[in-house]
C-alpha cells in the first residue's frame, strides 16, 4: 500500500519513487506532443524532413558557396547536416522544455506529478526529430557514397552529451520561466544567435587559434565537433581541451539544473 507523508520544510523522500511510479507519463506526454504537432497540417510528418532539408540548403549556400568556407574535402552539405543534427536537437529541446511548464500551467496548478517529467518529455519529443534527421543524414551519406570512419563508434557518447546539455539547460529555463516570463523572449534569441555562434554552418577550425579556448566556452562547440569527428572523420579533428570544457560545463549545468528545478518545483503551482 502506498503512503504519502509530507511535512512542511522537508524535502519529499518519495520524489524519486514517484518519478518511477509516473514513468509512463514520460511516454504519454511525449506521445501527446508528437500526435498534436502535425494535426491539421497538409503534409504532416514530411515537415520533419522538409525543415532540415531547407536549412541545410540555405546554410550550404551561405557558408559554403558564398562564404567559401573550407570543408577539408568533405562534401559541404554533409558537413552542415552533421552540425545541424546536434544543434537542431539542442535548440528545439531547450525551447520546448523551457516552455513546457508554462504551456501546461493548468496541469501544474491542478494535478500532481513530478514536474520533471514535463520538462524531460519535451526533450524526448525533440529526440524523435533528431532520429528523423539522423535518417536523413544516413541517406545523404549514401548519396555521396561516404563511408563513416571507425570513430563512428563514439557517436553514442556525443549523443548522450547532447541529451545531457539539453536536459540541463531545459530544466534551468523551465524553472526560471515559471517565475520570469522574460525567458520567453530570451530563448528564441539564444537559439537564433547560437546557430551562428556555434560551428553549425562551418568548421570550428576556421576560428583563429588564440580564440579557440574562448570559443570552446560554448558547450555546443565540443558536441558539434564531436559529431563531425565521429561521423565524418578526416579533417574534422577533435580539439581535446574544447571537449573537456564542454563535458565539464554540461555536467555542472545538468546537476545544478536538476537541483534548482527540484528546489523551485515546490512552489510552481503558487507562482505559475
Amino acid at each position: 500500500m502506498s503512503e504519502i507523508y509530507i511535512e512542511a520544510g522537508h524535502t519529499e523522500g518519495q520524489y524519486w519513487r514517484d518519478l518511477w511510479n509516473y514513468r509512463e507519463l514520460f511516454y504519454f506526454l511525449s506521445w501527446r506532443d508528437l500526435l498534436v504537432r502535425y494535426k491539421q497540417t497538409v503534409v504532416g510528418v514530411s515537415w520533419s524532413f522538409i525543415r532540415p532539408l531547407l536549412t541545410m540548403l540555405v546554410l550550404t549556400v551561405v557558408f559554403g558557396k558564398l562564404g567559401k568556407m573550407p570543408s577539408g574535402g568533405t562534401p559541404y552539405p554533409l558537413l552542415v547536416l552533421c552540425g545541424m543534427l546536434p544543434w537542431n536537437f539542442f535548440s528545439l529541446a531547450i525551447s520546448d522544455s523551457g516552455n513546457s511548464l508554462v504551456m501546461n500551467s493548468s496541469l501544474v496548478s491542478k494535478i500532481y506529478f513530478p514536474r520533471l517529467i514535463m520538462a524531460v518529455s519535451s526533450v524526448i519529443v525533440s529526440f524523435v526529430d533528431f532520429a528523423i534527421s539522423a535518417l536523413f543524414m544516413v541517406g545523404l551519406m549514401i548519396w555521396y557514397r561516404f563511408a563513416p570512419p571507425m570513430s563512428v563508434l563514439t557517436l553514442p557518447f556525443f549523443i548522450l552529451l547532447a541529451i545531457a546539455a539539453s536536459v540541463g539547460i531545459g530544466l534551468w529555463i523551465a524553472a526560471l520561466m515559471v517565475k520570469y516570463r522574460d525567458f520567453r523572449f530570451i530563448v528564441p534569441f539564444i537559439v537564433q544567435f547560437g546557430l551562428y555562434l556555434s560551428p553549425v554552418g562551418f568548421q570550428s577550425g576556421v576560428v583563429p587559434e588564440r580564440f579557440r579556448l574562448l570559443y570552446s566556452l560554448n558547450p555546443m562547440v565540443g558536441i558539434i565537433d564531436g559529431f563531425r569527428w565521429s561521423l565524418l572523420g578526416g579533417q574534422n579533428r577533435i580539439y581535446l581541451p574544447s571537449l573537456g570544457i564542454s563535458v565539464l560545463e554540461i555536467a555542472v549545468i545538468l546537476i545544478s539544473g536538476v537541483l534548482y528545478f527540484r528546489r523551485t518545483e515546490r512552489t510552481f503551482a503558487d507562482v505559475i
Partner: protein, 436 residues
C-alpha cells in the same frame, strides 16, 4: 483485535498551514528587466526598493492550524464559503503545493479531481484523451485499457470517440472528463466542486457514481457548495471559515452551522452615513430569540442600530426569502410608514403575523434607503436565517406528495376548496388543527 490489524486512518492532518505572500506583484513587477535594469542604473536605490517591496508584502494565511483525521471508508464533505480555505486544503493534500507548516499522512493510493477535464488536449480525439488523461491522473496503460469500455459507456460518447474533443459540446466534454476520473478507483479520492458543471441529469449520474465509490469502501473528501449533494453523500462534514476548521461532525449539524454562518450578521457600519447596524434578532411570539419557527407563528425581526449622525426619514425594507426566491416583504417604500429620524442607539422591529410558510429554510434580508428614496444605506444584506419545521399532518394536511411540493413552494395563504359534491374544505397554515 490486535493493534496492528486495526485499520489505520486514511488521512491524518496535523497543524497544517499554508501562507501566501500577497501584495508584491501589484507594486513591483518581478520581471527580469526590472531587476537587471534597476540594479544596473542605481544599485543603492534598487536595494532600497527591494527592501520596501518586502515590507509591502502581506502575509496571508489561506489555511492555519488545521488538524483532522479521516478513517478509511469515510465520506467527508468539506464546506465553507468562498475563500474559506477548502481548495487550499485539497491542493495541499493532492500535493500540488507544499504546506508552510504542519504535516499530513495519507494511506493508500490517492487521486484528486480538482477540475473536470484538466489535461485534456483540444486537438486530440476522445479516445486519445482517455489515455492521456488517465495517465496524467495516475493510471497505468494496462489499467486504462482494461477500463476503456466502461469509461466510454459511462460518458455516452461512443459515436464521437474519434472526433477531436474541440468539436465536442460542453456537455459531452464534461461527461468524458468525469468518466475518466470516476474510473480511477483510488483508495482515497479528493474531489473539488465537480458538480458545479453539467446539467441535472449529469450531476445525478456523478453523484450516483460517487455513492458507489463510497459504498465500495473508498475514502472520499468532497468539496461542494451544493449542500443537498453533501447531505446525500456524506455522513460527516467539516466546516471551514477564514482558513480554520469551525465545525466537524455529523453532516446535518455542520450543514446547519454553515447556513447560520452564511447569514449571521455581525455589527458593521454602512457607508459614510454613520449608521451602524449592531444586531438583528429573530424572535418568536414569546419574544425569545430563535432560529426555529412553526407555521402560523409570528416572526419578529428586531434591528438594533446606532446612528452616529442624525439620519432623517430613512426607509426600512425587510425581505423574507425562501429557496425559490422572495416570499414576502415589509417595505416602507410601499406602505409609507417611516421614522422621523434616527439618532443614537435605538431599535426598530417588525412582526410578521402568523407566517404561512411550509417547512423549509428561509433567510431575512435588510435594506435601507435614505430619505430621498434612492440613496442606498444598506443594500439587501443577509441578516438572519431561520427554519420552519412542522409535521404538516398536524395542520390537517393529508396529501401524499408533501415533501416534493414543499420543495417548490414556500407560502400557503389560507384557502377554501368548493368540491363538486357541494362540500367545502378550509386549508390553513395558521395554527395546528386540534385533534378530536
Amino acid at each position: 483485535m490486535l493493534i496492528k490489524d486495526m485499520p489505520q486512518p486514511a488521512i491524518v492532518v496535523e497543524d497544517l498551514g499554508k501562507r501566501y505572500v500577497i501584495g508584491r506583484q501589484k507594486q513591483a513587477p518581478d520581471g527580469m528587466r526590472h531587476i537587471i535594469e534597476g540594479a544596473l542604473r542605481s544599485p543603492v536605490a534598487w536595494l532600497k526598493s527591494r527592501r520596501d517591496a518586502r515590507r509591502r508584502e502581506v502575509d496571508f494565511w489561506a489555511l492555519r492550524n488545521v488538524s483532522l483525521t479521516v478513517q478509511q471508508g469515510e465520506v467527508v464533505g468539506i464546506i465553507g464559503r468562498n475563500g474559506a480555505g477548502k481548495s487550499t486544503l485539497l491542493k495541499l493534500l493532492s500535493r500540488i503545493t507544499v504546506p508552510t507548516e504542519g504535516r499530513f499522512r495519507i494511506e493508500g493510493r490517492t487521486s484528486s479531481l480538482l477540475e473536470v477535464g484538466t489535461g485534456f488536449h483540444q486537438e486530440l480525439t476522445g479516445r486519445e484523451n482517455i489515455f492521456l488523461n488517465g495517465a496524467i491522473l495516475g493510471m497505468t496503460r494496462s489499467e486504462i485499457t482494461k477500463k476503456f469500455d466502461q469509461i466510454v459507456e459511462f460518458s455516452e460518447i461512443e459515436e464521437f470517440l474519434d472526433t477531436p474533443v474541440k468539436r465536442y459540446s460542453s456537455g459531452m466534454y464534461i461527461r468524458l472528463a468525469f468518466a475518466v476520473a470516476a474510473h480511477l478507483e483510488p483508495e482515497v479520492l479528493i474531489v473539488d466542486e465537480v458538480l458545479a458543471v453539467g446539467d441535472a441529469a449529469f450531476q445525478k449520474k456523478c453523484l450516483g457514481k460517487m455513492e458507489n465509490l463510497a459504498r465500495g469502501g473508498r475514502t472520499v473528501l468532497f468539496v461542494s457548495h451544493n449542500m443537498e449533494a453533501v447531505r446525500m453523500l456524506c455522513q460527516r462534514a467539516i466546516l471551514f471559515d477564514g482558513g480554520r476548521i469551525r465545525a466537524d461532525g455529523d453532516v446535518e449539524n455542520v450543514v446547519e452551522d454553515y447556513f447560520s454562518r452564511l447569514s449571521t450578521f455581525s455589527a458593521r457600519q454602512f457607508g459614510n452615513s454613520g449608521l451602524v447596524i449592531e444586531k438583528v434578532a429573530l424572535k418568536n411570539d414569546a419574544g425569545q430569540e430563535t432560529r426555529q419557527f412553526c407555521p402560523g407563528e409570528d416572526l419578529i425581526v428586531e434591528i438594533q442600530f446606532d446612528a452616529q449622525k442624525i439620519l432623517e426619514k430613512p426607509y426600512f425594507i425587510l425581505v423574507v426569502q425562501g429557496k425559490r426566491g422572495n416570499c414576502f416583504t415589509a417595505n416602507m417604500q410601499l406602505d409609507g410608514h417611516r421614522p422621523e429620524f434616527l439618532n443614537g442607539k435605538g431599535r426598530i422591529s417588525c412582526r410578521f403575523k402568523s407566517i404561512p410558510l411550509l417547512p423549509q429554510r428561509f433567510t431575512v434580508q435588510l435594506a435601507m434607503k435614505a430619505s430621498n428614496g434612492k440613496d442606498v444605506l444598506v443594500d439587501y444584506e443577509n441578516v438572519g436565517s431561520f427554519t420552519v419545521t412542522a409535521d404538516l399532518a398536524d395542520y390537517g394536511f393529508r396529501g401524499e406528495f408533501q415533501t416534493r411540493i414543499s420543495e417548490a413552494t414556500s407560502v400557503v395563504v389560507p384557502y377554501e376548496w368548493q368540491l363538486p359534491d357541494g362540500s367545502s374544505a378550509i386549508v390553513s397554515l395558521g395554527a395546528p388543527v386540534p385533534t378530536v
